[in-house]
Symmetry: C2
Subunit: 493 residues, 2 copies
């Protein structure tokens, strides 16, 4: 068999590389070695030609198989007939999350990684590179929403592990350490601040406050659960104590833009701004049968008006507004609730637009609760005795801009993979959702890779990313990490 | 001391009657006896003149004191500085309800009553009368809303006990048995069908279905809790096995009409019709940050529109509409809920008006959920992918008309008590709320007595009925029961 690259006879070391030809094991390359018998590896990123780099390929089948095998832990609702047509319910720090974490640690250790756990339970698995310096990571999360899918977060972590496996298989020596991070409680579904753990790492939240977070509908705290499942690590959760050289995150788009435009890879330039509020409406409990509308202070009716108005106003301003949680008291069919609390999530690409929306809603909510008409929501009802509205800011995530050099590595990797079709299939995008990369970008060069997911559905059991798109994403991720490693060597950092 | 009625010298038997003069103990009346030494009682209702009847007075202080002493069991939120300015949270069949029940049984037994408990835990305490025939009852309930007050239901039961105490004190012999009923789970707050137990008695619900009711937010059933607290009685819960001769229910108005019109006693002619529904809105969970409005099936936003529209439409039709319970899934700040369920309580004085409203809302809800505009609720928002709406009827209580003869006894009793002022202070009313009397009226002569409560507030810790109004109500209740007893004797039933 003749090597197509080095134009010589070759001898593939394993089945894995047979389709790649002989690029790393060709006798003529003078570098044929087995990792197990020598401390020096086969090939350095800085010595690879673009052609060689393009030939480094992940094992797409392995990625798919391993990803779904680990989705046994915390599996949720079945939504289709296929073997993987089952959602996920792997809330952070629960028993299923512990199983997934244990698997992560074992697997990365078996790949030769050094594994460390920090005080927030974030897991850092590092594969040794040639030079000193903070690692170039692939990072994402293994936790899910209560009714989530198999790709959000999970794909990014698995793609990172597949990247390390491929580096091992091909015996690639990186200039700097590379690694994979599993961030704790990205979703904020159980302990209700999302990305809290990369947030602590970035210094956006104190460890103390993060530890105190109480689970929704329960009593456990983030700290008590970390302790319970054995993931309260000793490494300081801090960008200073544990710096990151670069952070690449592969993620499903969670929106329909790539799919509807025929795009394959999104090179994510940044993330939209968002704020999360808890809105408390206070009225007065009263009997539903004996209290005329004009004598009511109906907190539920008021909340309904506020939710509708937040939608109408956000639409007018080109923003998003959503309510995902609503609680009321006392909670009886024949008692008008005197207390309602709901979450309000508002988003915009621009910080200034978001602030404008926030200010407008604050004024409007008060007027609506007082019975004044704003944009029609009080136009037809009976004016009651009014309610009060209180705002509490829970999360403030300004618009984020990722690192141009990282974004370029993503673009180059994607274009190399897609070849001649790459033109329209790689596009720059803005993330609608928050991600751990938003926090890592505060202290480390960061970029994200988006792949399409069917109909843009996410945070839903039926979330789906095809084997082809999962593979494309993981391949782009590995290529971006290797390219960034070369880039660091050139820059000398 | 000269008797003002019999114009002779008298010798009061106890302090209790000293202010009444000597009407029952005057030597000249030839009927001075002690209950303990003779099976025959002192005075028969049929032999009492109107003047004598007017002189039979309850002990208002005792009523107030006893009522509040029993409110230690299940006390709720403090809302003022006074010793009784504390709400109630005595959910049916809980431990506090058991204490109140035990007190009820002991107290009525100590008054010489025969006490029976039926299969729904309803307690019937009966004081023996002269003739055979079903008892004339005062009935109401000792359970409360989770954030209820001290008067709703509780006043009616205590007034009944005070009526029996007064009959004992004055050694009154009734023609027919008299008694007090404590109905189980009137509120429907814990097991979510209100008046379920008088409903089973009336044949409106099967015992089997009532037993199966599961508590809101828990797993216990009505039957398991009846067993647990020892109130699963052996008497059949049925109007056939355990008939009622007449049912009088004293209750706070739970609305502001009496207070704002200077009324003292409401002679209640009937109750408005109402229906309770559980409305389920189904959409699709999706990520709040990545899903544009047009791609959403937002069940929470849809529910907000439906709740607002139910209010607007009910107002236009002169009805009431209220939502007291709302649940959603999955319940995470950054996930648009794909599932919302809420209660809808609609009410009207007329059955036909209520049916018309129901039909209109069924059509409108479907259109609104589909994104069509109905009365402006969809006028400004972005049309999404739509949701479905499902209706489940939980309770159907048609408009009720009480018994004219019972209502007249209430009016006469109230006018006799109020004397010269009675003119504008006694008024006929319709009940806005459902009460156990609605079910008793299906099989027994029934009427209700309303007394004012401050600002019409009820189902709220700050619910308040003054000592004067509590006393007026209990006095009217006793007078109505005695008058009805005479009326039964005249009619011979
Ligand atoms: Zn994610
Ligand atoms: Zn009541």
């Amino acid at each position: 068999m003749r090597c197509q690259i080095f134009r010589s006879l070759c001898r593939p070391r394993s089945n894995r590389v047979s389709d790649l030809g002989c690029i790393f094991y060709c006798p003529s390359s003078q570098r044929q070695r087995l990792f197990s018998t020598t401390p020096r590896r086969n090939v350095r990123t800085t010595e690879m030609t673009d052609e060689q780099l393009a030939a480094v390929k992940i094992d797409r089948e392995r990625l798919w198989k391993v990803l779904h095998s680990t989705c046994e832990w915390g599996k949720g609702e079945r939504w289709g007939d296929g073997p993987t047509d089952i959602g996920m319910s792997r809330l952070t720090l629960g028993d299923a999350d512990k199983q997934a974490r244990d698997w992560f640690v074992e697997t990365t250790k078996s790949l030769g990684c050094k594994v460390q756990i920090d005080a927030m339970g974030n897991i850092f698995a590092v594969r040794t590179g040639k030079n000193e310096g903070p690692p170039t990571y692939a990072g994402s999360h293994l936790d899910t929403q209560p009714t989530g899918g198999r790709y959000d977060g999970i794909l990014g972590v698995h793609a990172g592990i597949e990247a390390l496996k491929t580096m091992n298989d091909l015996d690639i020596e990186t200039e700097y350490d590379t690694g994979v991070i599993n961030w704790t409680n990205e979703e904020g579904a159980r302990f209700p601040i999302s990305m809290i753990s990369s947030g602590v790492w970035a210094g956006a939240f104190s460890l103390e406050n993060a530890y105190k977070l109480v689970e929704v509908g329960g009593k456990a705290t983030q700290k008590s659960e970390l302790e319970r499942i054995g993931y309260l690590g000793t490494l300081e959760a801090s960008h200073k104590a544990n710096p990151i050289g670069a952070h690449f995150e592969l993620h499903i788009e969670q929106g329909p833009i790539l799919e509807s435009s025929g795009g394959k890879i999104g090179a994510v330039e940044g993330a939209q701004a968002y704020k999360w509020f808890t809105i408390t409406v206070r009225g007065r409990d009263c009997h539903t049968g004996t209290t005329e509308f004009q004598n009511r202070s109906d907190a539920m009716l008021t909340a309904a008006k506020l939710i509708l108005h937040s939608h109408n106003k956000a639409r007018a301003d080109g923003c998003l507004a959503s309510t995902g949680i609503l609680k009321l008291r006392p909670g009886s069919t024949n008692t008008v609730p005197g207390w309602v609390q709901f979450s309000l999530d508002i988003r915009s690409r621009e910080d200034a637009t978001l602030s404008k929306l926030e200010e407008a809603l604050k004024k409007d909510f008060e007027r609506i609760a007082n019975g004044e008409d704003v944009s029609g929501v009080n136009a037809q009802g009976t004016k009651g005795r009014g309610c009060t509205v209180e705002w509490q800011l829970d999360t403030d995530s300004p618009a984020t801009k990722f690192y141009e050099d990282c974004i370029k590595c993503v673009e180059e990797s994607a274009k190399s993979m897609l070849g001649t079709n790459a033109g329209g299939q790689v596009r720059r995008m803005t993330s609608g959702a928050g991600h751990d990369s938003v926090y890592t970008s505060r202290h480390a060069p960061t970029a994200m890779i988006f792949v399409p997911c069917r109909e843009g559905i996410s945070h839903n059991p039926a979330e789906y990313c095809s084997p082809e798109d999962c593979g494309n994403g993981a391949q782009t991720l590995l290529g971006a990490m290797l390219r960034y490693d070369r880039y660091r060597a050139e820059k000398g950092a």
